[in-house]
Symmetry: C2
Subunit: 408 residues, 2 copies
């Protein structure tokens, strides 16, 4: 007997037939005595259709009203899934985010969960119901509906699992687990049986798109195991948890990731005196621009000038460039070079701190493939290299082959 939270995304419930399929699967997997909470997203294109209605009315952004509108999408799914479960003979009840006790702040369209009060959920479970909860939404202190933004339904599921002290939170998705690299790029990528929250967070930060970092953080906070698995198969996927349950880990490196959404800015000839770097990066922070890799190198010791190189997300390139050029006039620089044909490849593994030579192995793999490294950055559990964008596939494969040699 276990308490299990399952989350199904919009493509899993896109049509009435798919909803019936999800209901059948839930009942097929349910063991005697299990308590089940199901979190669902809006059906397929519903959210887009609602956005279209909004666009036909106004070009302005009204967060509160938009959330009032969008939250209907999940409300439709939960009602239909509860009906499908009842039709199959199992008692079920649907609950909105409000009814399920998901309390958020008032940051409409991207609200954060501030508190969970799942009393009604527990009550319905104890009555023998499968409880179907609307993902992506909660209620503000003022009683307004707020949506959680991107990855919101995963966050709902993990937060509920945490608050209910569930045994596991199962995230059903269109991939069957977390891979050692993107399987579309690396044909020999391997599915991981387990990965830690920190490794998953680092992989997400470095370009892996399986799980939104928010829900992984939520899982880490509550210590809830997250099971990422396929909607299409019965197989087990990947468990994300605090530590490994198996005695021996096969690989120190858990994954090779890549990120093409990178642009590089080089500021040439920056005066080398205190406070200049602060001036540059606080101006970017004020504009809400997230800076990733940063390298400062000495250009000319005689003239006391340096070069500063950093990376940002591609869509912020133009804004960044104009801020830097503006600032450059003020502090006096030699020039600005921007470059968006770059990409970042990374290796992630919680064990690399205690395993020397990981960096050397990675650089060696790239070097042997003839790929030049432009920038290097490291964290406790990752190493990243900036390379030319057109070499990404080759780089990821070269690194992956080195860390995940084929079994004999």
């Amino acid at each position: 007997m276990a308490l299990i939270v399952k989350k199904f995304g919009g493509s899993s419930v896109a049509t009435p037939d798919k909803i019936k399929g999800v209901a059948e699967r839930i009942l097929r997997e349910k063991q005697q005595g299990d308590q089940i909470v199901v979190v669902v997203s809006a059906m397929g294109d519903t959210t887009d259709e609602l956005i279209d209605l909004c666009t036909a009315i106004t070009d302005e952004t009204h967060g509160r009203e938009m959330d009032m509108l969008l939250s209907t999408g999940e409300q439709i799914s939960i009602a239909l899934l509860a009906m499908a479960l009842k039709k199959l003979g199992h008692p079920a009840v649907s609950l909105t985010g409000y009814q399920a006790g998901i309390r958020t702040n008032e940051n409409f369209a991207k609200a954060r969960i501030v508190n969970m009060d799942p009393a009604r959920v527990s009550q319905e479970l104890n009555r023998g119901n499968i409880v179907v909860v609307a993902g992506f939404q909660g209620v503000t202190p003022g009683g307004d509906i707020a949506t959680l933004g991107r990855g919101g339904s995963d966050t709902t599921a993990v937060a509920l699992a945490g608050a209910l002290q569930a045994d596991v939170c199962e995230i059903y998705t269109d991939v069957d687990g977390v891979y050692s690299a993107d399987p579309r790029i690396v044909t020999k990528a391997r599915k991981m049986k387990e990965i830690t929250y920190n490794e998953m967070l680092e992989m997400a930060r470095l370009g892996a798109v399986v799980m939104q970092p928010r829900s992984v953080e939520m899982g880490k906070h509550y210590g809830v195991p997250i099971h990422v698995r396929s909607t299409f198969t019965q197989e087990s996927g990947t468990f994300i948890r605090g530590e490994y349950t198996m005695e021996e880990r096969e690989f120190i490196i858990r994954g090779v990731t890549h990120d093409n959404n990178v642009a590089k800015i080089a500021i040439l000839g920056v005066p080398d005196h205190p406070g200049v770097a602060y001036k540059i990066f606080s101006a970017l922070a004020a504009a809400n621009i997230d800076v990733d890799m940063i390298v400062q190198s000495i250009r000319n010791t005689d003239k006391n000038i340096n070069d500063i190189l950093f990376t940002i997300a591609k869509p912020e390139l133009n804004q960044t460039k104009s801020i830097i050029e503006q600032l450059g006039k003020e502090i006096g620089i030699l020039g600005v070079i921007v470059e968006d044909h770059v990409a970042k490849v990374s290796v992630v593994g919680a064990g690399m701190l205690g395993s020397p030579g990981i960096a050397a192995t990675m650089f060696g793999a790239l070097g042997d493939a003839g790929i030049n490294i432009e920038v290097i950055s490291t964290s406790e559990i990752s190493i990243s290299c900036l390379i030319r964008a057109d070499l990404v596939q080759q780089a990821v494969n070269a690194i992956h082959n080195r860390f995940f040699p084929e079994k004999k």
Copy 2:
């Protein structure tokens, strides 16, 4: 400065353009200082589309889940109308039935309003907002969403107007007021400037379809004037209120109504002893069959048997017949005759009690037109006659001409 509740039905908000039109009308009509609450139904076919989704999932009826599903229709409309008002520059906020404090019983799909707590509505009005409230829905004591069933949005509007002590509740509809008869049948039908709650209720009971009786009862309960008016024109419609505001009433009779949804049952040769009528009509009541006109006549004094004749709504004819036949064997009757080619024509007017001769005038009009009266029944403010169904149009016109003579 006034507090006005306006209600727009589904056809008035069927498309984004129509929603924009409603928003424009609201702002055009708003006087300086007016406080406005708008109640809206679901957009055009939304409810039917939601029902189709349900039908694709299950053939069972799940009241609570169905209400969870259907209530999204109004939630979409209110969000869009609030956006449209804001886009036009006026502050607005949308509220679900729950947020607007509409408390119902747990009779899902046809819940009744048991209590109103419009504190949030008042708060938002005082902040200068136009408040857009979802019609047709409320919340049960257990925190579930319940819908109010047929005519629910009108009921929401009138109940809100009552609870807020509004100056008037305006019901925008596809007719421009309450007429002295159905204008599709009587070309000379006149629009009434005023009508009392009781007259309107009696007209609705006797076949007029302008307003659901529920919302008129609600208006009567709270003493809120209801203004029934056209979505398509700026003209004033008909005010429904407790008493007439004008010194002189032009007509004693306020309307001539007709109802084709009638069937007649005659039970022949019923033993004339106490308790027999009770047995018959309590059996029908137990089956939830609403009996309208009842006439008992003596068939044969020697044999102590009577005939009992009554009318019901057509769809209940078969069930009624089998109940009566079953019962007939038990109590011993001569036979049962059913007839569904009948219709009821009525005159309604609160003043008829003090005006003798109304009945005679009505019977005279029918007699002069050569129309035979099968059954007669009267209430304090109405007289009804059962006639042959194919003579309805002729009958209604004959009566209307007598009570509403053409102006010279």
